[in-house]
């Protein structure tokens, strides 16, 4: 994973230099790497990750500067790959693939959201509001970066696991959420945060979440369930 880590860091440096990083949020499988540093390198946080790097553009996008992000990725050796079926784009490289995502609104549009100021398009996905609403700004190797609140990341992972078609992806989501979630519950501030986020969720989401957590983490289930009483 050495090459991937170096490339990941190079991307962060470039996006930070161009003042893009302050307007977007790192989400997905690379977040635990940032959390590991945030919490002081505990062994409980797994470093398992894939070649997919996901970046969230808030909806509505609050971009303060016009930057051609697609050009930045070209300069970093990425090629733009556009799906002929639906127009979704991603930036591919032998070691990493970068996708821009944004919370899906309304009925869903089935086509990408154009982010004019960044010269890219982003794919709309459900449940990303949860992540967009709870973020922290932290430092990763000296770079200031936005990531989801760790507890929001955990709850979101549980929620989306149910939508996964591939069983191993479902298992991976659940395992990541369980490991990190149980670690967080040992810290009072994180417990309070998880509670706050959970209580603000729509009732339907809460119900779905409890159903998923019940069969996967007794510790998190007992904690969330106790708040209902």
């Amino acid at each position: 994973m050495e090459k991937e880590n170096d490339l990941f860091f190079t991307i962060l440096i470039r996006l930070d230099k161009e003042e893009v990083l302050r307007d977007i949020i790192l989400i997905g499988g690379w977040c635990p790497l940032v959390y590991k540093e945030y919490f002081g390198n505990p062994v409980e946080i797994s470093m398992q990750r894939t070649a997919d790097l996901d970046l969230l553009v808030p909806n509505p996008p609050r971009i303060h500067k016009d930057v051609d992000v697609s050009l930045i990725f070209k300069e970093l050796g990425f090629d733009k790959k556009v799906s002929l079926l639906d127009g979704y784009e991603k930036y591919v490289h032998p070691d990493l693939e970068v996708e821009f995502l944004t919370p899906e609104r309304g009925r869903g549009r089935g086509k990408p959201y154009t982010i004019d100021k960044l010269h890219i398009n982003a794919q709309g996905l459900r449940y990303l509001d949860l992540i967009q609403s709870y973020t922290i700004k932290t430092s990763y190797n000296g770079i200031s970066i936005n990531v989801p609140e760790p507890t929001a990341y955990v709850l979101h992972k549980f929620m989306v696991s149910d939508r996964r078609k591939k069983p191993f992806k479902r298992e991976k989501d659940i395992e990541t959420a369980r490991q990190l979630g149980e670690y967080l519950l040992d810290q009072e501030s994180q417990r309070n945060k998880m509670l706050e986020i959970y209580l603000r969720m729509p009732e339907k989401w809460k119900k779905d979440l409890i159903k998923i957590v019940k069969g996967t983490s007794e510790k998190i289930y007992i904690f969330l369930n106790s708040t209902e009483n």
Partner: protein, 104 residues
């Protein structure tokens, strides 16, 4: 399927798709090397490539800086795609080795 094995298989699929993507890109870019010939006091650009034992010269246009620069850029692009394809193939081998190792 274990999570690790699932990740490796997913990466294998990604790299196979990426390999096809770069192969397509390479085909979109002209192959060969730039050759300039003088005819009647004027210079013309050709693209030279080998087919079996014969060297074929494909006419490109008059030797003017714009044409030459555009061609050089495309040739450079081809080299970059070829380098990326080599990298993908190396990564593919690494993944296949890991998957074979897991089966033991």
């Amino acid at each position: 399927m274990s999570i690790i094995k699932g990740i490796l298989k997913e990466e294998l699929k990604r790299l196979e798709e990426l390999s096809a993507f770069y192969k397509e890109k390479i085909l979109e870019v002209p192959c060969g090397s730039i050759s300039v010939k003088e005819r009647g006091g004027k210079r013309y650009i050709y693209l030279a490539h080998r087919e079996d034992k014969k060297v074929i010269f494909d006419y490109v246009g008059k030797d003017i800086p714009e044409v030459r620069d555009a061609l050089n850029e495309r040739m450079q692009q081809r080299k970059e795609y070829q380098a990326k394809l080599r990298q993908v193939k190396e990564n593919l081998e690494e993944i296949k080795r890991s998957l074979r190792g897991k089966r033991k």
